[in-house]
Symmetry: C2
Subunit: 636 residues, 2 copies
Amino acid sequence: MGIEDVLSDLKKKIQDKLPKGITISDLEFEGPELVIYTVDPKAFADNGDIIRSLAKDLRMRLVVRPDPRMLAEPELAIKKIAEIVPAESGVTNHYFDTETGEVIIEAEKPGLVIGRHGSTLREITKHIGWTPKVVRTPPIESTTVRDIRRYLRNVKDERKAILQVIGKKIHRPITSKEQWIRITTLGGCKEVGRSSFLLSTPETRILIDCGVSTGAEANGTPYLYVPEVSPLSNIDAVVLTHAHLDHCGMIPLLYKYGYEGPVYMTPPTRDLMALLQLDYIEVANREGKRPPYESAMIRETLKHTITLNYGDVTDIAPDIRLTFYNSGHILGSAIAHFHVGEGLYNVAFSGDFKYEKTRLFDPAVNQFPRIETMVMESTYGGMHDMQPSRREAEIDLQNIIRRTLQRGGKALVPTFAVGRSQEVMIVLEEAIRKGIIDNVPVYLDGMIWEATAIHTTYPEYLNVELQDMIFHKGQNPFLSSSFVQVDSQQKRQSILADPSPCIVLATSGMMNGGPVMEYFKQYGADKRNTLIFVGYQAEGTMGRRIQKGWTEIPMSTEGRTDVMRVEMEVATVDGFSGHSDRRQLMEWVKRMDPRPERIITNHGDENKCLDLASSIYKKYKHETKSPMNLETIRLI
Amino acid sequence: MGIEDVLSDLKKKIQDKLPKGITISDLEFEGPELVIYTVDPKAFADNGDIIRSLAKDLRMRLVVRPDPRMLAEPELAIKKIAEIVPAESGVTNHYFDTETGEVIIEAEKPGLVIGRHGSTLREITKHIGWTPKVVRTPPIESTTVRDIRRYLRNVKDERKAILQVIGKKIHRPITSKEQWIRITTLGGCKEVGRSSFLLSTPETRILIDCGVSTGAEANGTPYLYVPEVSPLSNIDAVVLTHAHLDHCGMIPLLYKYGYEGPVYMTPPTRDLMALLQLDYIEVANREGKRPPYESAMIRETLKHTITLNYGDVTDIAPDIRLTFYNSGHILGSAIAHFHVGEGLYNVAFSGDFKYEKTRLFDPAVNQFPRIETMVMESTYGGMHDMQPSRREAEIDLQNIIRRTLQRGGKALVPTFAVGRSQEVMIVLEEAIRKGIIDNVPVYLDGMIWEATAIHTTYPEYLNVELQDMIFHKGQNPFLSSSFVQVDSQQKRQSILADPSPCIVLATSGMMNGGPVMEYFKQYGADKRNTLIFVGYQAEGTMGRRIQKGWTEIPMSTEGRTDVMRVEMEVATVDGFSGHSDRRQLMEWVKRMDPRPERIITNHGDENKCLDLASSIYKKYKHETKSPMNLETIRLI
């Protein structure tokens, strides 16, 4: 049975289920979706439940597109849309795509354009024929989001062709008669960095994450040249858990070496990923290192990206369904859950996860429809890797900043752009709003502003309380006037020259370069100021040295090296980590429902992976394994 | 550095070490050997130690060949050889190969043609120029050995070309900078049958064994289509531990699907392998099943076979040296020991082994220069898998046969052709010679005679006592006049019609077909006769049913099925197994020197593999693993 037979079978099934008088003119696969072309788009829109019930019956993601003859003129359509959607929805832009019959509506409040169960969308279709898709107008303009959206519009024809090829591959008939499932470890086992796994069946090969080790390690790339993953063109799909470089940094390299398939991730992960990958090659170039790929390969990655929201059950191969679940680590971070075969087996990869409610996110999910094997991270998997609670950490941070500002000093916080910064911003915004700390400007330097803009684009990926504040109370903490973007050298100079107390959040998080260094040079000699570490400082970094108590720091300025004396206070606030601590890791396993048969630990130093695995085995009696890189474990 | 540079480097090194006046005209690789062409073959022969000391310095296997101009006319050469070698050596044939300058001398006593440390061979070279190679004239004519030798002479040009390609591959410079060693399990794990492992490094892939499951299992073939071993053309070498079909049965299939490299094994393994593979496809054809390959593929295998004797340390890849050690299981059976890198790692695959001195073989070796990981069989790895000693088994067998013959009955012993039969033959020969049992004919039916002929071709693979008997006492038990070959239906009929007491050894060993069935039909109804099982009877076989006590056996003759009543005595003699029992497995590990870090168990039912692994861990504290098929274990 070929793909054409699959489609004609489906056409018959759908036609049988449709009310009389609604006909489908064509049917095709685009990526994981089945596209139904019809000359009766309005009839579909009239029967709101048809699509939902069809999708449920067929266990497929469906899209209905109007036959081109049914489309209203764009000018007329824009007028009609304005009549249908409430004025408060704040529509800022329309993009018409005659190829797909889609109109992308950019709105400040997408929910109002969608309506309950999509009722407003269907209303639009009924009047204009076009299929509306809604995206959020970022409340803070993000150049990344703007550029990506523009790029994807520019390459839409090429992208459509790619999706059609992918769609046919996903829905190909299963040919293999064997039954086995294997995991091959390609990186990130008994180490932190270059995370990468291969999940394979006789039919399919899925790569989960493809990161880079950005530390000093000799081998920064996953083992991509071993026979299990070569040629790369034999891989069916890449699945990305989240946007940090140790998980996504080498995905563009795959396209350089012959991979042509899709990459699945959540929408915020796509934007953060592009931001961090571009920064990665920019930093490499600035440091005179040859980056492993060029920006063209990042665009290639975007061209092949298919975004899925949490909970979307999606066919990504003839025998594999993928579902993302919130992992609470950073914006859009996901646990990737794979359902293999029809009820055969379920395996999930936790990626990095936080099992504690934070300012930004709900705790990582640990309830699944089914789960037999869980692959989980072990960053803080050691017996003694306990962290203060988030609440304690926040009070600690507030106290340090308060006393710094009160003595007329400045608080300098080196942070990663993505995740930690926004967490600290929310804490500061509340503290200022409630008068716990003085109302001073909070300067954001480096990529922090841009990363924050991406956070404001996807409020539905934040936790319930934050969504409630933003959507119902109209209080978006990221839009607080306390936050000031540092977007030019001039601006930075004026801040550096200003003697009044302030708070500065700047990259890089471990002080190995980045704008934070300029503030450090300026503020370092004044005892009233405080340097506050909120994240892990790796061995060998400048941050680590200062944290350990070095007071004489060699600094090179314009080729000359001077020794700088550190007089400012140096403080460390633990507890802001995006990773679960030992207690949270154990609790997450304990409360997992259903109980998995097997737990595989990775993403941690060797002793942490082993310690966590043996503790889980001793305490909860799960079968556990802690593989090395380059091993293969058979699941079934 | 290419292969040409490697050769010119070697040429310089060799020339430097040679005495003045000896020049080498050319140098090339043929398989693992370095061939030195010279116009002074006599000078090489004069300096007996040159080659040995060169080989030691270069750590390579060397062959010296005369320039063709230096070769005497064959007629003259034959005359000269006859003058040089002692008359008792019993030269039966000469084969001259002008291409290689080699003369193959077939002799009844090859040792006399070779002389001490090869002194007689050198004497021959000095006089005729040709390089003599000596093979044994089988004292019992083996059609297998004769056919294989003839075939290899016929394809010698093609074979030389193949060896040159292999030689260049083996000696290619190492390009990879990574360092890891992995074992992938392709078959024979937690099961008995289709044994196959992949040993891989960044540079090299070695397949160890490639067997077939001959039982009722659904999947008779190792997992050869997984990416780790595909394409097959990427495999550097196949190494075969011994000739049983569950280890070698699928090797010809490799050549059918694109493998073009060498297969390493001992010389007796080559002959037994061809015998058993040919029988395998013959039986399949007879039973109307389509065999997985044709006899042409068996010839292809022979064409690519490189034989190594126990103890020959041989480069088989740029980073891997192979050495075979006696495993005591069947004729030529070996433990395959791999030395990886220059002192990096040592791993060995036990194949099937017997850690007890038997009539035919010395016990399996467990002393190695170095060993870090041992992969070992678990056939009798269960806690209670104890067998009587060989001595007890022999007495048991003698008693049963004695009482059978004394009451005028016939003893019928179903056996496998290879291994068990010869073991029983030696016991019977001694018992008859010593008068313990009556002097009756011992009929050998099925492939037993042919397998015995192969045993007589390689007495140096038998244990010291047997060699001593054969070489020094002139008593070859296999040549005893008690043994009678059944080589025609007519002969069989006359034996079946003869009422006098006798002993019959016949295949198949589990009574699922073969000539044994004809004897069984004839002898079954007479209470004086005895059916004696000396080997394992698998569930579902006729042998198993009779052993369990069935007395009414449905037998089909010429399409009609009759019920046959079994009146003959049925006896089972345990202890003749070629596998180590539980106690021997544990002792072998305990006394292994040096002590390996890790033991991997395979080749046994799941519970046997697990039981053995956990017992070894508990008792001797080795790290142990018992993988499933399709897993990959990283060694370093």
